[in-house]
Every structure is written in structure tokens, then in C-alpha cells.
Subunit: 344 residues, 4 copies
């Protein structure tokens, strides 16, 4: 069985494993205040082109989302996002458990627009009952989105301007950011993202690390007291240097970019195979997540040998599914899947 | 200026005021443990045809909703309701502030169906990521709904069966329950509601009282420790007898029914006037809330003399608005509005 | 049975009842945006000697405490108070239910000192694990305290200075403020309190009103968006004018002061009787709450005719109890109790 | 500089690192549903002597505490613990952030007794205002405690009986459980703990793992839906097999016991050195945490070469500090510290 259902089926990049081994018995102080974390943060700041960014390391995505959002919002404030947003669907109400409403905006491709945000904001402030409603105060997007699509620089710039205009925080969930930056549709740099967002994170769990998300904050209000929130939400790893070491490795010699690019190359091979077969897509995407619509009979055949993720029923005989590649996907496995597809 | 924008513009029914005056200097114990509360609860139990119901008195609707919902749900559970539901729109995220997701279901008339509830429940339990999603555990409806519509006995029975089948609590917000029961479309009794729901409340604020909602619980799990929740959510009135006295009065000699019927009679007169004029409705309703679609030019004229509530823009030249009658609406004021309508 | 167990056994001052009756069928807009509320707020601002104060009306004390505290604190911040503070003991964890730790400081008389606050604050910031601990951000006191004692102007000034020095909000719970201001130990005016605190409230429930607390805010950060919090916590009364009317009446012609003074006069009579009898006090207080230590045998006799509140066991044969007077206490009832005491 | 300030200064036991390396590129399903987790859970069940226990793996201690406690309590319920309990002091209010009060009981050695729990429970149910107070529903203890002390089997049995008698959950935080079980004062087995507690966890972070806590649940109510809570609180590791692998290794061939015993042997050597020097203890303990009271002048000398944790000032010239050993402490480092102590 070869697994393509997600991008966290394997462990970590060998270079990370080597460093974990090499430093295993070193003594360091805890809770992310060690030298490895400091060093990794410095490299990330440099990659983002801004010496003044605050950088923090957390363990996982849900934890990071709830920590950032709860640090940003007062009790009467909520966060706007696509209805399909991870925080709205797949985090067991973590944001609501911190007391905040997630306010879903319609989206067919996982993205939301500056116009939607503006409309939602204005609808709130212009409503005579505005104090009876949750106040929008943050915009959450993910890039790539849940559906593998990416924002263009123009789209993100527009969102950023709208957020600044109305005093909303712009938060970008980059659990798969490397794959987004490496995709052909992308026209942004990490520095663009760092300057357009108030806060975002660089995913390690899905891209080369055992676990870990690097939060980058470009806003003094959000940055203040942020470590209290990390601790309160259970995200302050005792042996914090594990996070520092991993991100230090990922941000040395462009490893993060390199392994992200590998995943995209593997995905492109798969996309070619699906297209050759004539399968349409639920949503067209250029990142490491592919959502073909496949006849159920074919799926059954593929499922005997390959793991995929069931997305949704399209009609009585077709389903949309998700195939993922990752930094760890071998060309051999992709070739096996490509062959299987062509034989269907 | 004559106000028709809501059903809580005036004080309380004269009989209530008289009793408040008559008993003003009596000494009673606090927090709803007095004789008046006991007596009112007994009358409500009788009207509901069930001696075993738990009855509690709270001050207002938002407070009641958050108290009931938080008493019912564990942290990972959420409440299903119409997207237009009061808890989803007009309570500043009170339910979320208690940590629970409000899960909106589409609805054009303010109602949701047993089929929708079943689909939402099954979608959850059949999803392979179900533990990554909020677990539906309660269904919240209001009767009448936010749009003035009422559930039929068949509809409520279906909802009730579905909820029982899947272990969901059924909670009915009856802030305007009297107006619902008095409407021509209604085919239920209070006893029907009490037996079909796990918990509901009988609104006093909008129907004859200065304030107050009577929560009726038909479920031992929900009833246990309920007073702790009332206290924690700030709903335990020190001079609790004020609530007991008001509901005792409303449930003596059918006062609640009588004054509800008056509001409906007044609404029917208004409806006739709108219909004569040929105005369509945003939603057809038979209760005390009327939602005509009116040319903006006409609205401007009406607005000089009559208060109404702006609902939504329908097209460039028309708006849907809300006119409310209540137990306190005078025939004189209705006649004035009817005349103004016919003159448009 | 004559009740002395608390100060909310009766209804409202006759002048309030008269105005409720007189205005009962007037139409006003809801949610505290009516003219009566505006007028009452203006009178309270004037009594506080500051035109710039924000004034809001809520229904009850627990509700007010949780609303103010949650409006002030971010998720990682807590509130310092006496261990005996109402929020720490008698509100079913309402503050914690909003996510905030109540941090109790030792106190034998219900008061806390500027030195205690400073020590708690410095202990936090000087601890190397400070981010692993809740950050103190607000100081909650009540005046009078739970034990009937009052702060001197010097004590409150010191607290205020310490709070300002360290960026802590000072919040005074004045559920019984009138009784405090009327007591012989008091050396403050309402204006003193308004200028020394960031936020406080003037209790109506215990002093002449059917219910209601007037929150006075002297801080722009706290004042911003405060109505969202009132709504979210279930404290926004639909018929808000009921609150405006009551406070307008209490702040007309010094009614609030006058009826508070009456309660103190009644309490002083009772104190004289207990002292004559030689009963010691659990805590000496000069307000409307008296805490004598009484032989159990005597208590049993008193208890047949008079209601009191059991406070705590002092030794095998003695208990501390609470007797309360209020604006509504009749001299006749006090005389009856005085006579009963002297006969013990 | 040799660090003795805590027991998480190093990485993981070499056997764990080897397995992480050996399995790094294996593909497994995520979120703890892999074979390694199943295998580790089976070994833990066996070590606990009960096939019916539910076992779950989380990343860290604060996360585990908040997840277990929030899964157990309804909103009006609180958790009893020693005032010095980790949840009460060093988790930035994580439990309160979930809405629950932490109710501290006095303790000089970090332990609480069955009698204290009973008294607290009875004080609640016998108070006439019980519904105005948080309802105690869980007892949290840690073993070893924050002060390195351990519960005897008799003490834990008494706590367990009291909890069962009054319907309280008994929860044991075993972040350092191995060190407790290995200490000379201990007279319990893992099976004893598993049968006496409703829920407890076996700490990996402090004992041999990179991170990880194994939660063991012996109660069907708590066990139900527990994975929803893990996800909601951000504790569901994507690459869950990292946790399974680590605990599988720790519970193979008694590794967990063996490395725990090493830490105790190292601590015993240190204790002998402090005793020889004549330093008293803040609290006597037999586990891996030692709390000597040391003259400040001596501390300054030691501090140049050895890391320790400052605990509290004892008098003008003496401080209590904490020295920790762990599975990773080398005899060489201990000998260096012993030598330094004897030279003071």
C-alpha cells in the first residue's frame, strides 16, 4: 500500500534527523529560549527580509491557529474566513472553544476576496444592531488553501489593504506554505507575505519536519505577551530546541524551498497522468494537493494499491478525491501511481 | 411617532403592574426560591400537562439561550440551527463565548427540517474525520421563527423523532411563543411543545411582562444542576419573585393567551392593509411580525409617522421591513397605520 | 417571620414604583438607548463630577462583574481580589467561565491593600517563569466589602496609585455602594471613587431599585465596545428604560443617599443592641451588614422570629451570623429585633 | 556549565532516537491511529494490568491537563488541587481558559489528603448558597508532586475512596511518574495507580522521550469522545506515530523503569552530598527533585558552574533552590557537583 492521502505520512527530512541525533545529549534551556531557536528565528527573519519580525515556534496547526486567533481577539470579536477554512471545519471548534465566532464567507475555490471582506465589515458597522452581532476583527486565510489553490500577489495585496483600511488583522495559515511558494501559479516571495500579513506561519509538519510551525508576527500588538498564549494553549514545547533545530535546518541552504519544489514536481507528474486520462478536477490547483473527479469503479481499483483521501460525492458514479505529494514522495511511488492511472 | 418596530416598546400588562405594586413591600427570600415562583411554576406545569417538568425563570432571551445551551453541551459539541437563528446572528456570539459552535443550516423561512437535521448528523458521524469536527448535540429552533413563521405539529414531531433517534437535544426558543400559539397557522398546544421538546421557554419580555423567560425542561440530564448555570451566566435575579409574580399573573385566567390573541388580531388588520395595497412579503407569516416589501418612496412617507424595523434591501427601489404588533398595541394606532398605508 | 438575612427581600422604593406605573404604556426604543437612560446617565455623571464618564445599566451584580472583567482582560490575564471577594466565592465561577483566573489575596476584613497588590504584581514580573503564570491585569475590590467594611480615601488612593503605576485596571464593585458612602467610617464622595477607579458600579438591586447596576467607566479602552459585552453576557435588557427610570429616580433629589442613610441608621440601632448584649463581632463594620458572634442557643431563639444569614462556626457553641438592614427596613421591625436581643 | 535546573534539558534516550531513525521513512496513517500507537497502548495496558483501559498519547503536560480536565467537567464544575499544583500556578491559566475554576487546597508538601477533599466537598454541598459556588467535581494531584514528594498507597487509596464516595473524578498528573515509582518512599505499582485513579498520565517528556504523555483512562464517561478533546485542544499530533514509537520503546524491556531508577540513584548521590554538608531541605523528597536550603554565598559559587532552579527566599541569607536529575544525568556531572558542594 502506497499512501498519497496526506503530506504527513513519513517522518522528517534526513538532514533534520541527523541534527537531532548529533545534538541529542546536549543540554539546553527549555521552552524555546535556547540558541537553536534564536538562530532559526534569525534565519526566518532574514528570509522574510525584516529584522523586526517576532518569530515563535509551536508544535501543530490547530494549536497555532487557536493561539494566534485568541491572542488577537477580544471576546466580542470574530474571525472571517472561507466556509471551507480549516478553522471552520476541521479543528473541532478550537476557535469557538476560545470564545470566538468563526464567520464563514462563501468560496468555491477555498479563497476569499478583499471585496467579500469589505462587504462583511461594512455590513457589520452599518447594521443598526451591530452591537448585537459579533464584530469582525481578523481575516484568516490559508495559502495554499484547503483546496490547493494559491493567492496571487494582487489578491493578497488587496486583502491586506482592505484589512488595514478597516483595522482588521490579516492572518495567513501557511501549514503548506512551501508548497504554495513552489507552485507555478505563485508570484509571491516569503518577504511579500511577511509584509502583507500581520501574522502568518511557515508549516514544518507538512514540509520536512517531524512537527512544528513557525509563527511570524509583524504587528506589535499581536507580538506583545504572545508567549503567554503559547503556554496557555499548551503549545510551549518543554524541549523547545527540537523546534529550533528543525527550522534552523529547513532554513539553511534553501532546504525548505528545495524539498517543497520536489513535492510540486511529483504533483505535476500526477496531474499530467490525470489529465491524460481525461479526469476533470473538483478545483484546479497547482500545489501538492490534487482533487480529481474519478469514476467510482476506477477508484475502487486504485484504492487496492494506493491511499487517497475521499473528498465528496460528485454524482451517482463519480467522486472527488484528494491525492497529496510531499517532500518525501518518491518518484518510484509516483511512477507506480501514474502507471496504475493509465491502466484504468 | 408611533412605534411598530418591535414588541417590547411598552412596559407590562396592567395586571402585572398591579400585582407588583400590591406586593412591593412584602418580604420574600431571594433567587427564585420564593412562593410566587413556586406557584407560577406549578401553573406552567399544569398548562403544559406534565407535573414532572422543571421550570426556571430567567430575565432575558440571550441569557436564556446561552444558559440552556451551555448546560446541555460538553466542550466539543455544537448546536444546529437555521442560519438566520437568533443565536447565530443577534446575540454577539454569546453561545461561542461559552465555547460552542453554532452550526447554521440554510433556511429561507426561518425554519429547519427533520431531514436537514438528520443529514447534518449523519454527515458528521459518517465522516472519517469526525473527531476533527464539532459534534452536533443540540437542535435550536425558535417558534415563531425570526421571520414570524411557525412550525406545524407534524414538523415539530418529525424534528423531535429525529432528535431522539440520534441523541440530540431539541431546544425551542419561545421568546414569542404566545404569538405563535395564537396564530391561525398554529395547530399545537403548549402541552404538545412540552412533550416534543427537551427544553423550551415561554417568553414574557415580548408578551406582557416587564421582562422574563420561563424555561421548561423535560429531561433529567438537562434539569440537573440547572440553577448553577443560571447563576453562572448572570441570570439569577436577586429579587426572583418579580419573575414568579409576572408569570403567575400571565398564567392566571388565560391572560397569556388572551393578550397574545390581541396582538395577532392587530397584526391581521395590518396584513389586510398591506395586502390590499398589493405589497408582497419577504416571507409570509401569520404571527405578530409582518415583513412587507415596500417601495422606498412609500417607506419614507410611513417613516415620518411610524417606527418600523429595516430588514433588507430587495432591489434598487424596494426594501423589506418589519412591522410588529404586541399585547400592547392599540387599535387606534393600528388604524392610524392602516390609514396611512391606504393613502400611499 | 421578619427577614434580616439580606438587603433584597423587598421590592423597590415607592417613588420608583410610581414612575414605572406612570410611564408603563409609553413607547420607547429598546436596549438602553432611550431618553430615560440618557437622563439617568447624565445625572450619574453629574453626581460623579465628570462629564466624560461612560455610564451603562445592567441588571444584576454577577452579570456586571463578568461583563466588566471580560471586557477588560485578554485571555492570559487575571484579576486580583480578596479571597473572600464575591467573584471568587459566590458567582459560580462566572469569571472563570469567561476564561480568566481569579487570583485571591489573603484578607481578614474583606479588604486588600496597595502593598498586597504591588507584591503580587512584582512577584509576577520578577518570576523567571512569568509567562507560565497568569498575568495580573485588574484589581477587583468591593466597597463595602463582603464583610461590610469600607475603604478609606487613603486606602483607595494608594490602591489607585499602585494600579496606575503598574498598568492594572482598578474595578470597584459597588453593589452596596450607597450603604458604604452613608456609613460613619466613610470619608469619600462618589466623585472620589469615580476619579480613583477605572470602572465601578452603583448598586441599585440592594438599594431601592427592583434590580439594576449602573456601571461607570473612566477609561477609554474599557469604554470602547462595552455594549457588545453587555449584549454578549446577556445583560442588555430589552426594555432598557426600566433601568434608566429607576436610576433617574434614585439620582433625583438625593434619594439614593437618603435611603442609604436610613439603612445605616437602622443598622446602628441593631449594633447598639448587640453591643449592649456584649456579643463580639466577626468583623467590625459600620455599614448595613452586621456580623455578630452569637451563642447557638440564643441564635435558635432569634431564628424562630427573625431571618438571618449563617456565616460560619466560631467554636462549639458560637456562630457568626449576618443581619442586614436596607432602605426598606422598618423601624418597627428593628425595634422588634432589638427587643428580642435584649431579652436573650 | 552543567545544567541541573530541570529534567528536560537533553533529547531522548538513544533507543528512542534509533527507532525514530529506523522508521523515519515508513508511511503511516496520521493522528495516532497507526500501529505503533496501538502497540504502545497495548503494552501500557498490560503494564497497568487492565485490558480495558483507554490509552491516548498527547504531546505535553499543560495540554494534557487542560484536555483531561475539560473533558471531565461541565461548565459549573471545578477541580480541587494543592495550591502549589501545576495547574494552579504554572500553566498560564489553561484550565480557567477552558472555563473551569481551579480550587486550591493548602499544602506544605505538595500533597493533599482525603480529609481535605471530603471537607471541601461537604462544605460545598452543605452550604445554603451551594448553587452560587463552583461545584467540585474532580481532584487533581500529581505524583510525584511539584515538591518531589510521593503519595503512599494508603494515601492514594483514601483519596480514591473519598472521590468514589462523592462522585468526584480522581486525576493523577504523572509527568514524572517514573521517578515517583522508582523512589524509595514509593510503595505502589503502575497497576495500583491505574485502578485507584479514573485517569492519569505517564510522563515521557521528563523521562526518556523527546516529548509525549500517555493518558490512561479508567472510566467510560471520560473515555467517550476523548479524541474530540485532544483535537480541539491542539494535542492531536499529525505524525502521531512519533508518540507511539516513543512509548512503545519506553515500555519494552522495562526501559521506563530502568532509566527512572538511574535518575533516582543520581539524586540519592546528590542528597548525600547536601546532607553531609548539613543543608536542610525546604521539603524532604526521595525523587529526582531536591530542594536544599543553601546560603546565598554558596549558591553564588555553585551558580558559576551548575544550573539550578531558584525556588524561594527562606531568609535574608538563605534560599531554597531545586536541583533535578533525570534519565540523562551522567555520573560524571553528578560527581562534579558533589565535589563542588563538599568544597563550599
Amino acid at each position: 500500500m502506497i499512501l498519497f492521502q496526506c503530506d504527513y505520512n513519513e517522518g522528517a527530512h534526513p538532514k533534520i534527523m541527523e541534527r537531532l541525533m548529533a545534538t541529542n545529549m546536549e543540554q539546553t534551556v527549555g521552552y524555546g529560549e535556547d540558541e537553536y531557536c534564536a538562530q532559526a528565528a534569525a534565519k526566518i527573519r532574514k528570509a522574510c527580509g525584516n529584522e523586526n519580525l517576532a518569530v515563535h515556534f509551536l508544535v501543530g496547526g490547530t494549536q497555532t491557529n487557536m493561539t494566534v486567533i485568541d491572542a488577537a481577539l477580544r471576546s466580542h470579536q470574530g474571525v472571517l474566513c472561507a466556509v471551507s477554512g480549516h478553522i471552520n471545519v476541521h479543528e473541532t471548534g478550537a476557535v469557538e472553544s476560545c470564545g470566538h465566532k468563526v464567520m464563514g464567507l462563501p468560496s468555491s475555490d477555498g479563497k476569499i476576496t478583499a471585496l467579500q471582506v469589505e462587504a462583511a465589515y461594512l455590513a457589520h458597522v452599518n447594521d443598526s444592531s451591530f452591537e448585537h452581532m459579533v464584530q469582525p476583527k481578523m481575516v484568516y486565510i490559508s495559502n495554499p488553501t484547503e483546496l490547493g489553490t494559491v493567492y496571487t500577489k494582487k489578491e493578497l495585496t488587496d486583502l491586506s489593504k482592505t484589512c488595514r483600511k478597516y483595522g482588521l488583522y490579516l492572518f495567513l495559515d501557511g501549514a503548506r506554505l512551501g508548497y504554495g511558494l513552489a507552485s507555478k501559479e505563485n508570484d509571491m516571495t516569503l518577504a511579500d507575505i511577511a509584509s502583507l500579513c500581520n501574522v502568518f506561519y511557515i508549516g514544518g509538519t507538512n514540509i520536512g519536519a517531524l512537527f512544528g510551525e513557525a509563527v511570524v508576527i509583524n504587528n506589535s500588538e499581536l507580538a506583545g505577551d504572545f508567549r503567554y498564549f503559547i503556554k496557555q494553549k499548551g503549545g510551549m514545547l518543554a524541549k523547545g530546541r527540537l523546534l529550533g533545530l528543525q527550522f534552523d535546518t529547513l532554513f539553511t541552504d534553501h532546504l525548505y524551498e528545495e524539498i517543497s519544489a520536489h513535492a510540486i514536481a511529483m504533483a505535476d507528474k500526477l496531474r499530467a497522468a490525470f489529465e491524460k486520462k481525461g479526469y476533470p478536477y473538483l478545483v484546479e490547483s497547482g500545489t501538492n494537493q490534487i482533487f480529481p473527479i474519478i469514476p467510482d469503479a476506477d477508484l475502487e481499483i486504485l484504492g487496492k494499491q494506493f491511499g487517497y483521501c475521499y473528498q465528496e460525492r460528485v454524482d451517482a458514479a463519480h467522486s472527488a478525491v484528494r491525492f497529496c505529494t510531499s517532500w518525501a514522495t518518491t518518484e518510484e511511488n509516483v511512477d507506480a501511481l501514474v502507471a496504475a492511472i493509465s491502466e484504468l
